[in-house]
Amino acid sequence: MATYTKRRAGKKPSVAVASHPGGAVAAQLTEPNGKSYVLLDNLRVLITKADGSWFAQGLEIDYSADGKTVADVKKRFQSGLSKTVEAHLRVHGNVKALLRPAPSDVWTEYFDAKNALHRFGHSQFTVSPSAQASLPFDQIVFVESKLSA
């Protein structure tokens, strides 16, 4: 993520926003009572199959998960990332340290496979650490690489 900017403070909710040139956005809204909500928008996730299992790797955020099927790996990525966001909120009070992209070799794999990709649905992802463990992500783009065995 390119920036992490706090836009408001005080008695009003504060908003911190980070954006990536590829279109991904992370936003954190913190209420005066300390409750936070995180929105991750337009994240790209590369999904590959190797050694009999599916693997999902985030690009703008370096998080990954294994799964038995494409649906399973999506679910595990979403719920694992949701728990990771909650952990960052518990430990740091923000998700700044989470907003680091995957290394260059992962990005290279993404672009090498670009002509053989399926894009899955867009959705939105919001987390409130106390109110809900995870909500549907609607703006994460899942990408399946057909180049993997």
Partner: protein
């Protein structure tokens, strides 16, 4: 085709990694922290090579000093 690593072996390897703290959560998930980075991995019976590569990266380890038994380097 290769065998995946067993979850318990991976957890053990992470626990022994320098500079990495590991918390096993009641539901079987693990929380790993290194510096200011924290990640939660959901419990699973086995861990793929790709995921192991990510875990090594997150833990600041290389292939030589972090490979659970049963999953030799390719």
């Amino acid at each position: 085709m290769s065998d995946p690593a067993l979850w318990a072996d991976v957890v053990s390897a992470i626990r022994n990694a320098d500079g990495v703290s590991l918390v096993e959560l009641p539901n079987g998930d693990i929380q790993i922290a290194r510096g200011d980075e924290v990640r939660v991995l959901e419990h699973q019976s086995t861990v793929s090579r790709n995921q192991l590569k990510s875990i090594r990266r997150w833990c600041g380890l290389n292939q030589a000093d972090f490979f659970p038994p049963g999953l030799p380097p390719k």
